[in-house]
């Protein structure tokens, strides 16, 4: 949907061409990249569910209400080092976890494995 101006803070209900439906509050919309940044759920705390959606996949939407800007610009800071650290740690964790994910197994089997592995603190993946 080109040309539309998305006002920040609006609550929208959106349906995507892929069949997703959700509601969210607009944080930002970048026309150049056509990416709509939405915040889902209520802002109950510093952590939010963020969704970046390419606007061209919006099948339909409707405006629910208008609210103020959910992003408090004054509070926006970025600490790159901690981000980097977080990423490293996440990668480490993912590598460790990856050993627990079976390759070539169905999701059902994976669920089973995950459930069973909870009974032991240390499960060797084979």
């Amino acid at each position: 949907m080109e040309g539309e101006e998305f006002a920040v803070g609006c609550f929208l209900s959106i349906k995507t061409t892929l069949g997703d439906e959700f509601e969210g509050q607009i944080i930002s919309f970048d026309r150049l990249s056509n990416i709509l940044v939405l915040q889902e759920g209520l802002e109950s705390g510093p952590r939010r569910n963020i969704r970046l959606l390419k606007a061209n996949y919006i099948k339909e939407f409707s405006l629910l209400r208008q609210d103020e800007d959910p992003l408090d610009v004054k509070k926006c800071f970025l600490d790159l080092t901690s981000l980097q650290a977080r990423e490293d740690s996440a990668i480490r964790q993912a590598e460790a976890d990856s050993e627990r994910f079976g390759v070539g197994v169905t999701s059902e089997a994976q669920t089973l494995f995950d459930a069973l592995s909870k009974t032991e603190s240390c499960v060797a993946a084979f």
Binding site: V8, T16, L18, D20, I27, S28, D30, R31, L32, S33, I35, V37, Q39, G45, P46, R47, R48, N49, I50, R51, L52, L53, K54, Y57, L71, D72, V73, K74, K75, C76, F77, L78, D79, L80, T81, S82, L83, Q84, A85, R86, E87, D88, S89, A90, I91, R92, Q93, A94, E95, A96, S98, F101, G102, V103, G104, V105, T106, S107, E108, Q110
Partner: protein, 589 residues
Amino acid sequence: MNMQQVVFPKSSANGFGRQRGDREVGARLENKMQLGKSNQGRIQTTGALAVGKTVGNESFSRDRLVYLTTCLIGHPVEVHVKSGSIYTGIFHATDAENDFGIILKMARLIKDGTLCGYKATTEFVSKAPSKILIIPDKELVQIIAKDVAVTRDGFASEPQNEKHQEILIDSAISQSRHVEVERELEPWVPDEDDLQCPELENIFDGPWNRNWDQFETNQKLFGVKSTFNEELYTTKLERGPQTRELEKEAMRIAREIEGEDTQDLHLAEERGVDLHDDFDIDEEMRYSSVYRGRGVDDSGYEEEEDILLDSHNIETFGDSYDSLSRSTDGVRMPSSSSLVDDAPSSQAAISEDLNCSRPNDQARQLASELPSKSFSVSDSESRIRDKLLGEHGGSSDGNEFPEKQSVSEKPNSSGKLSEGPASSKATGEMHSANSHGQPDSSTSSNSDYVGTVSASGGFGLSPSSSMGSLSSEKSTLNPHAKEFKLNPNAKSFTPSQTPVRPLSPVSDGSFYYQTQMSPLPHMHMPVSFGIGPSFPGHQPVIFNPQVAPIQSPQAYFHPNGPQYGQQMVLGQRQVVYYQPEMQYKGRDY
């Protein structure tokens, strides 16, 4: 700033993984944000960022976009692509300059868009995660991230959460996957500061020298009453007028033991003797407790076994190896003697004694058999040895073990007595040797006899020294005993049903030889040579019943100990129980 375009080649609709370096993109992103790597502090608001060429609202929204995507770095996200596939991975970077293609790390496909409908959910088979996944903008539909810390409050709490939640496991730390090479191990060298064996000398100062009584201290501090009684754990020391002498004797014996030659690597090391300069002895040989028959020194053991078997054969099949035995005196000796794990002369209540390898003694005892009364006590050890050597060659009887009847006083002549005065003399001498210390450590000759039972050099030990007690070394021989004369026609002994003494518990395979309480002038040496009570199981017991008797067949039993249940019958094959040799390293205290 490198404005190189990142190329996102088109590929299948599934999206694609790329094992490509993404540093450029990441770096570019950072550059874009104009945040130096050294910038540790917080950064300006997104509004202050100069991004690209966008202006006005777009700049504003672009800034926000950039800010938010930056917030996502390191965060697990779900990416939907055009084909309907969904990837999950760690958000790594985005191409903020252009159209925001993104890069994921450790991405996994969790929903395959190509499979449609029902199939998609059930038949989905997981694939290995890709280290780096680049999703171009064209494929991108949406990115979903949960629990993203967007504002400062979120940031503050986040690192703590992360730290608590992340448990570092060893494999993650070591990243063993990344390191293929084995580390080159180096032997530990002590620091300069460490003293050479610090305070070892002090530690073992006698406890009576210390000014500190641990029991007393314990009592004071914790009110614990000690019931420690030293004598429960060790031999009771006789303290009295004799103490000085006893101590001196003990020191002498200790010195003797420690000064012995030993071929044993471990013992040598302990004593500070460098046995092997040849460097084919590696650490394992030096310090491992695994015994491997190896090397020149230990070859004795292997030979022992062979010899032992040979001896057994000899006994079984008659002695046709005279010449052989003669020629291999030195070697033979031990075997025969080892066969007889002789308990010391019955006279000595020194059963514990000789066990350990006194091959010569034992052989002699054997050979001599008996309750000989003519013990020339005075003979020296070496003479005995020589004699034994001599007679050993001459007689095949090193292997004969006439059984002695402890109860009966009749000389129990076995079929094969290697009679001869030499034997008896040898016995006598041996007995005397038993009683006296053996001053000259016959280690030299012993070294050949790496007896099965013996610790190397054990032969040199004075029997009395091996005794736990420091009791006087009276000779237990009866100098007035009647000289032994072999009576071949003597009736063979048949033991009574009930054993004279209760059988002592002994590990399987060992004979319990109870010494005769009274020093008998006619000493009957039991054929079955058992191990003294103190070392059940340590020593190999070789029960060697008399074989191929020349004269009347006799049955020999050990009256006092557990029997192997062998009856020796003339002419029949004897079952020889052969215990595997075990190296007994130590003394028979």
